[in-house]
Structures are given as structure tokens and as C-alpha cells.
Point group: C2
Chain length 202, copies 2
């Protein structure tokens, strides 16, 4: 291994433990941070501390926010009968970017993943069920967890627990991405698109 001093090695390892940052990227980031002016470095650590200090979870939807309840939950123009359940705040951002959804959200901050030391109590399911009980105006829960084994397991779990409540539980359609070629589709996606086929014109 390279001859880095312990403090540099520690910085590289801390950066390398962030998601999507491999060994080479961590080294590159570390040396970039070491080469910064003191003002730039203070701005970076300041931004981390400031964002963490100001950011809390919205008491209603559990999304990150600096005002509680968050701007989406307090927006009188939103459709309060629909709640879209997502894994992460970034998913809320993806939905908002689309400008096609006007309901509310519920951020789970994870999925059901017993292998990854994540279980039902680590995600905000308790808060979701309490919210549904307190807000009888909610008629539909759209489970928009990722199309992974864990995402599907979470969706199934939610739909089972809500089966007696009369709340409609839906899941985002799976199938071929728009603009994609069938010849390059993976088997699971193609099978899912076939299973979910629709009448033309419907």
C-alpha cells in the first residue's frame, strides 16, 4: 500500500466509506481536500455541520426538511388523499421533478433488508401506519419502493398490513423503460412487461 500518513489514511478511509466512493476516488477527494484553501475547507465542513444542524425529519412525511412540517405537507394545493411511499428523500426529488404527481409522500429512509442489518423497526413504517390512522382522508397508498427484492418485499408487507383498512395500496408499474429496445431488455424486465401487458387503446 501507498505511504500515506495515518491522518491522510484515515481521511481516505472515511471518504471511502461514503456510498459510491471507491478507493481511487477517495484518494482523489482526500488530496483535493488537502490542497484546498482554509476557507474552502471550512466551507465544506461548515456545510456538513450546518445542513445536519438545520435539517430534521418532517413529523408528517419523514422527509428531510428545515421547517416542520415540510413545505410539501403544508402545501394546501396538494391532494391529501394520496400518499406515495418512497425509500429515500432523493425519490421525492425524482417525483417532484416530473411535475405529474400532486399527492403527498412518506419517506421510509430504507427498505426491508434483514441481510443488511435493516429491519422493519429501522424504517418509518410505524409512523406511516399512525399517519394513516390519524388521517382517514388518505384513500390510496402508492408504494414506490425500488424494483428490487427488498423494495418488493417492503411493498408486499405494507399491502398486507393495510389489507383490512380499506385503503387502496398500489405499486408503480414495472415494465420496459420508455425508449428502450426489447432486444437489450433483461429477462426479468421483459417477463414483467409481458405479464403486465395492456389492451392497446385502453
Amino acid at each position: 500500500m501507498a505511504r500515506y500518513s495515518p491522518s491522510v489514511q484515515n481521511l481516505i478511509s472515511k471518504l471511502g466509506s461514503l456510498p459510491g466512493i471507491g478507493g481511487k476516488s477517495a484518494q482523489r477527494l482526500a488530496f483535493s481536500i488537502l490542497s484546498m484553501s482554509q476557507e474552502e475547507a471550512d466551507a465544506l465542513t461548515g456545510a456538513i455541520n450546518e445542513a445536519r444542524k438545520l435539517t430534521k425529519r418532517c413529523s408528517i412525511c419523514q422527509n428531510f426538511t428545515d421547517s416542520d412540517p415540510c413545505p410539501i405537507c403544508t402545501d394546501a394545493k396538494r391532494d391529501t388523499s394520496t400518499v406515495c411511499v418512497v425509500e429515500s428523500p432523493r425519490d421525492v426529488s425524482a417525483f417532484e421533478r416530473m411535475h405529474e404527481y400532486n399527492g403527498l409522500y412518506h419517506v421510509l429512509h430504507g427498505v426491508y433488508n434483514p441481510v443488511g442489518n435493516m429491519n422493519m423497526n429501522d424504517i418509518t413504517l410505524t409512523e406511516l401506519f399512525a399517519r394513516l390512522t390519524d388521517h382517514p382522508e388518505i384513500k390510496e397508498v402508492i408504494v414506490a419502493t425500488n424494483q428490487t427484492a427488498e423494495g418488493n418485499a417492503t411493498a408486499l408487507y405494507i399491502s398486507r398490513l393495510l389489507s383490512a383498512t380499506g385503503i387502496k395500496v398500489t405499486r408503480l408499474a414495472s415494465g420496459l423503460p420508455m425508449g428502450s429496445d426489447i432486444e437489450f431488455a433483461d429477462d426479468l424486465t421483459l417477463a414483467s412487461a409481458l405479464k403486465g401487458r395492456k389492451s392497446v387503446g385502453s
Copy 2:
């Protein structure tokens, strides 16, 4: 754009200004940092501050180090007649990993790049020339800047300034990477390999 609070937006933009971190990665990192425990966040900002506090430039080779002079410059087993000039501390690490070079280093902390607001005074050329004057035992300077226009310009500049000193200035060979296919080589690399061809067996 997504509805992030100003402090989160600021964190995303600070992270996005780091090298190799695009918009999506910056968002992912920011939410990962927001989801950390306080201990993990403190360890990250602590590692940044600690590495910056303890790390200085070696007064001889300008590499980052926590002891001045650095372990390489003080290593009695190294060949002090050869200095390898590199752009960044990561290049030193690449050479050391190879275990084939036993000389010393000089880290420029950049290359000659007038377009990128980097000029000769921003890199450690003054320190290099002072070092060569103070240490007449240095007989060869290997210019191991990257094979880019800026790297080549820097190498040419160094070789011109040292032309009267009697110090041998060499440049790493350019050519086809080991294991590569000629059909996939780019024109510049192939031309450089042709120009630098060698007698078989030499």
C-alpha cells in the same frame, strides 16, 4: 429543480465541487451524510480537519507528509542522485506501489496550464530549481508529468531551464500500454509508439 432546503442545497453544491463528483453523486453523498449518526459525521469532519492540520508539505520534495522531511526524503536507502518530478502526491503513490523506483521525488502540485488559471508560479518549480542547486549529487531528473498537453509543456519547460546545468532530464516513455491491442490504440498513442520504436533485443 428539486425542493431541497437551502442548507441541503449548499451541502450538495459544496460536495459537487469536489473532483469527480457530479450532481447525482453529490445528492447521494449529501443524503448519506444527513442520515449518518452524529458520531459518524463528527468522525468525517474530524478526519478532514485532522488530516489538514497534521499534513504539511515536505520542505524537500513538497509531497504531503506529517513529518518534515518526509519518510522518503529521509530514507538512507534511497538513491539520492535521481529525482522523479510528478504532478501530484497520488503519482508518488503509484510509483511506490510499483516497487521499481528507488530514487527521490519532487511533487509539482499541478502542471503548467495558463487556461486553467495555473501558471509557473503556482507549482513548485522554484523549489525544484533551488533543490537542484543545493544538491549537486542529483544527476538525473525524470519528468513524470502526465501525457497531456500541459504535462508535455511542463516537461519541455523543465528540460529547457536545466539544459545548461549538465543534469540529465528524461521523460517517461510513451507508447502502447502493456497488454493492449493495436487495433484499439488511438492515433496519437500509435504515432508515439512508432516514433519511439526500439531495436528488438536492445
